[in-house]
């Protein structure tokens, strides 16, 4: 299977020069996504999931951030690319939809005009007719009428604008689409429909997707793989059915218990006690240990290695091995 | 307590203009407080050394046509300027904050009415209004200060009103209503204390304007002749500008420096009190 994105030892650190502080936002990220996958990266605030996305897209502020490691995108290592080379692949091969993408549209231009602008970045010589035809097709994929092309942003609702943003993101048929909390600001019904449209669209265009969200149910409904992040590190990665039905990492377990079920049993939901650790410090042990119900002595001293459990399941926890023997 | 001082210190040092403004104000206040110590002569003394040049007969900056030492006059003139600045700013600030706060918080007809008054005031040429009132009611320094305060409150009111309008929608104000606080309590405990920051910054600029206004009034002969003020000095020295230029020049420089200090302070405060610096968390 073709590997679309392969992260090896990927690190993102924010640097506060004034106070001489380093914030380790993403530590040692390792995962691989293959063609046709839809990976949901789940995490709460401070987990580093958005930072990871911004790092992959090279959208982090240059003077106050540092990226190291490898991010192999179809053979190219993104960490070594210059901004010029990035410009060539951004939007044409690697695309993104943000939470409030609707706000990124210019309020004083018609949608069609903006689409043409964006399209011509990578295809200078395309004609208006071509672009219209292409975009109308995309509009139909997201259940929007053709009349949207001639509208102004203020004439459309939030849900419609977000759909326009999604359509725009796939206009060049990118290989990888990253959605960063793209449906969080939307209503349940709109979100449900957009998720369905995305899944359908993905199949038709043979696209690979990364979905970043704090809402596990969104991942459950639309992704085939899930990666759970906490305080900048990956706790557990695997197939959605496996991880959600049978969570192994204590953090994943804790997350699942904090979500009430819609139709199932009304089991008592529980919060995960404790607070996020200070991301400016380095920890010799497991970063989740202070809040872990199952913590053992080794968890405090030694950081667990990532163990492969088979069938695409990875876990960083001493409960499943992962410690170096002293 | 020490932490608070440290925090204030780091805030002051974060913005160049604020830093310069604060040092300037400290310097200014020292001059005002140590006036009897610093000045070489009694400025009110009509001495025998008339129209002395710079550093003639121990007069650092010379004397005027009445034998008064210019240097000492400038030092004592600082007191006048400070008094004018502070009192007129206080009057203007308090009036502006309450009127603007009430207008913005209550809204409706009160707001319409007050906004119209503010608009009228902003249309009036304030300086001419001041001239008129001084001409009618006399030119004592007290009148000058009160009049400046009474004519400059609209800009503060406008700022406070805008703050009040946005603050009344804040959750903690709604929470106060839900807790049973009455409108007066909400205005004085939540709206005004949280909205007063831009007014403070505007007031420092107002202070420099007040100093200039007083100087202009004195220059036009409408100031209080019993008090030493820089504007007075410039007016008195007008006749001698070609022969004894130091009589008008030095007070002029003093005005420029003082006004700049206040302006730097106000501008720096504006930078620091900018909402971007204030952390108002609103979720992720």
């Amino acid at each position: 299977m073709e590997s679309i994105l392969d992260l090896k030892n990927y690190n993102v650190t924010y640097i506060n020069k004034k106070e001489n502080k380093r914030i380790y936002a993403v530590k040692n990220a390792n995962f691989s996504i293959y063609k046709g996958d839809s990976l949901g990266i789940v995490g709460e605030s401070g987990s580093g999931k958005s930072t990871l996305a911004m790092g992959i897209l090279n959208l982090l502020p240059k003077n106050s951030s540092e990226v190291s490691g490898e991010a192999n995108f179809i053979g190219k290592n993104l960490t070594n690319l210059s901004e010029k080379e990035y410009k060539k692949i951004r939007w044409s091969e690697l695309s993104v939809v943000f939470q409030k993408s609707m706000n990124s549209l210019s309020p004083v231009h018609r949608i069609g005009r903006q689409v043409e602008d964006i399209y011509k970045v990578h295809n200078k010589n395309s004609t208006t007719k071509e672009i219209y035809k292409r975009f109308s097709h995309l509009l139909s994929l997201v259940n929007l009428p053709e009349s949207v092309y001639k509208s102004y942003p203020h004439q459309l609702s939030g849900g419609m604008l977000q759909r326009v943003s999604i359509a725009l993101s796939i206009i060049h048929n990118p290989k990888l689409l990253i959605l960063d909390e793209a449906t969080t600001a939307l209503d349940v019904v709109t979100q449900g429909q957009i998720l369905e449209e995305i899944v359908k669209m993905e199949k038709e265009m043979d696209m690979t997707r990364i979905m970043i969200t704090h809402d596990v149910s969104v991942v459950a409904a639309s992704c085939n793989k899930i990666a759970v992040m906490y305080a900048g590190e990956f706790m557990e990665i695997g197939k959605v059915e496996d991880v959600l039905k049978n969570p192994k990492h204590p953090y994943t377990k804790g997350l699942m218990i904090s979500f009430p079920s819609l139709r199932g049993k009304k089991d008592k939901i529980e919060a995960i006690k404790g607070f996020l650790p200070d991301l400016s410090k380095k920890y010799s042990g497991c970063i989740f240990e202070p809040r872990c119900k199952y913590a053992m002595k080794i968890c405090k001293d030694t950081k667990p290695e990532t163990i492969k459990l088979g069938d695409g399941r990875y876990i960083s926890c001493h409960l499943y091995g992962g410690g170096k023997n002293e | 307590m020490i932490n608070k001082l440290k925090k204030i210190n780091s805030i002051i040092n974060s913005d160049t203009q604020l830093r310069l403004g604060v040092y300037g104000i400290i310097f200014f206040l020292l001059v005002v407080m140590l006036a009897p110590v610093i000045s070489t002569h009694d400025p009110y003394n009509y001495g025998p050394d008339v129209l002395n040049k710079i550093s003639e007969n121990d007069h650092i900056l010379g004397t005027n046509n009445m034998g008064q030492d210019i240097f000492s006059m400038i030092i004592y003139g600082a007191r006048t300027s400070l008094m004018v600045a502070v009192i007129s700013a206080l009057i203007s600030g308090i009036l502006g904050v309450f009127i603007g706060g009430i207008s913005g918080y209550f809204g409706g007809r009160i707001d319409h009415f007050v906004s119209e008054i503010i608009n009228v005031f902003m249309m009036l040429p304030t300086f001419f209004l001041i001239l008129l009132i001084i001409a009618l009611f006399g030119n004592s320094i007290t009148n000058v200060m009160i009049v400046i305060g009474l004519t400059t409150w609209p800009s503060n009111a406008k700022l406070m009103r805008a703050q009040a309008l946005s603050l009344r929608e804040r959750t903690f104000v709604k929470g106060a209503v839900a807790m049973g606080e009455n409108q007066r309590q909400i205005l004085t405990k939540y709206i005004i204390p949280n909205g007063v920051f831009p007014v403070v910054a505007n007031t420092t600029v107002g202070m420099s304007n007040a100093i200039l206004t007083e100087a202009s009034l004195s220059f036009l002969g409408l100031g209080d002749p019993n008090i030493i003020s820089w504007g007075q000095m410039i007016q008195a020295g007008k006749a001698y500008i070609t022969s004894a230029w130091w009589i008008t020049t030095f007070p002029g420089i003093a005005i420029v420096i003082t006004v700049t200090i206040f302006y730097l302070l106000g501008d720096g405060l504006n930078h620091v009190l900018n909402p971007k610096h204030m952390t108002m968390k609103g979720g992720k």
């Binding site: 709460e44 605030s45 609702s157 849900g159 419609m160 209503d187 349940v188 019904v189 979100q191 449900g192 429909q193 998720l195 704090h214 809402d215 596990v216 149910s217 969104v218 459950a220 409904a221 959605v240 059915e241 959600l244 039905k245 804790g254 997350l255 699942m256 904090s258 979500f259 009430p260 079920s261 819609l262 139709r263 199932g264 009304k266 008592k268 939901i269 529980e270 919060a271 995960i272 607070f275 | 959750t171 903690f172 709604k174 929470g175 106060a176 839900a178 807790m179 049973g180 606080e181 309590q185 405990k189 939540y190 204390p193 949280n194 952390t279 108002m280 968390k281 609103g282 979720g283 992720k284």
Partner: protein, 344 residues
């Protein structure tokens, strides 16, 4: 203002007159400024909340769900009397709150409390938690001196699991986490032993792993206090977890009401069916079986005269546009405002 139909749409049959909190025919209309005319003879109204009648018993938690624009937040504000209703009244223990707030507003404020959505903005940034918590006590004359009030507040914090209370009382809001702030918000509301609590999206701004704590605390305290609670949320799974009964709002009206599980598992109103079916579940095997719906909810500017949902309803027929549907009880107090229930 037009003549409002006196008939309430959620009938009083369900609303046993013994219910502790009775919301009777509450409406909140805003004038719609027509941009063309100066004197507008055909005044239009934005009917944010339209003829809502509900009842909540002591110790009961009533969940109100709906999407943005349905009016649930406006309803919350009206119940907490942060806004006046255009029409209608709320009765607590047979007493009219309209009258109560005129005669003894402070008593009303002790009876009815609200928990807000944004814990980061619920408290004034300039006061310590101690000042924030003791101020309402001072205003209502609870506690005779500073010392007594301090003890009351300290005890309250400790009962809510906030240790060490002395430390937290000394802090300012910006030094605390969202979860802590929301807990303090609930505890402050509980200082008065309120009888009616409105929780307006209390956890939507909090991290997922913290929500459970707040929800459990709210449930525990309100049951202990035997308060009537209205829980407003757009998170359907969460609402089902905490609520005894659920009301569904659309464009200012209640379209369905019933016992929590019944509404989720057996929704009858077409809108509720769309809402529930589009709700993602954390169970990956329960794939969403979306019922399609066109467009977005419109602004409630003079909706009607028929059913407000008709323009987007997959079951709508001509009659639906002519008159507003009657409320049917489909069994066990499960009320639905729809005329097309048993038809395809």
């Amino acid at each position: 203002m037009e003549d409002i139909l006196v008939v309430t749409y959620m009938e009083v049959e369900r609303m046993n007159n013994n219910a502790y909190v009775q919301i009777k025919n509450v409406s909140r209309w805003y004038p719609h400024k027509s941009d063309k005319k100066i004197i507008d003879f055909n005044k239009k109204w934005i009917k944010a909340v339209d003829q809502v009648s509900l009842s909540v018993n002591k110790g009961e938690i009533l969940g109100v769900i709906g999407e943005s624009g349905c009016g649930k937040s406006t309803l919350g504000r009206i119940l907490a009397r942060l806004e006046e209703p255009t029409k209608g009244d709320i009765f607590i223990n047979q007493t009219s709150t309209q009258k109560l707030i005129e005669d003894d507003p402070r008593k009303f404020r002790r009876l009815v409390q609200i928990i807000f959505q944004n814990p980061f903005d619920t408290f004034t940034p300039r006061d310590t938690i101690l000042e924030i918590m003791t101020r309402p006590l001072k205003i209502h004359g609870i506690g005779n001196n500073k010392g007594e009030r301090y003890d009351i507040v300290k005890k309250e914090l400790e009962s809510g699991g906030l240790y060490p209370a002395e430390d937290i009382l000394r802090r300012y809001p910006h030094e605390l986490s969202g979860g802590q702030l929301q807990r303090i918000s609930i505890l402050r509301a509980m200082l008065f032993d309120p009888e009616f609590i409105i929780a307006d999206e209390p956890v939507s701004m909090l991290d997922v792993s913290v929500r459970a704590e707040i929800i459990n605390m709210l449930k525990k305290l309100s049951k202990e206090q035997d308060s009537a609670v209205i829980f407003i949320s757009h998170d359907i799974a969460l609402t089902r977890y905490i609520s005894d009964n659920i009301a569904v709002m659309y464009l200012g009206r209640i379209v369905e009401y019933g016992q929590g599980d019944e509404i989720i598992k057996n929704p009858q109103h077409p809108y509720t069916k769309v809402l529930i079916s589009n709700c993602p579940s954390i169970d990956p095997e329960e794939k969403i079986m979306n019922i399609k719906i066109e467009g977005e909810p419109p602004t409630p500017i003079d909706p009607g005269p028929g059913c407000y949902f008709a323009p987007r309803c997959y079951k709508a027929v001509d009659e639906c546009y002519k008159k507003y549907p009657a409320t049917e009880d489909v069994g066990g107090g499960h009320l639905v405002a729809c005329d097309r229930l048993n038809k395809k």
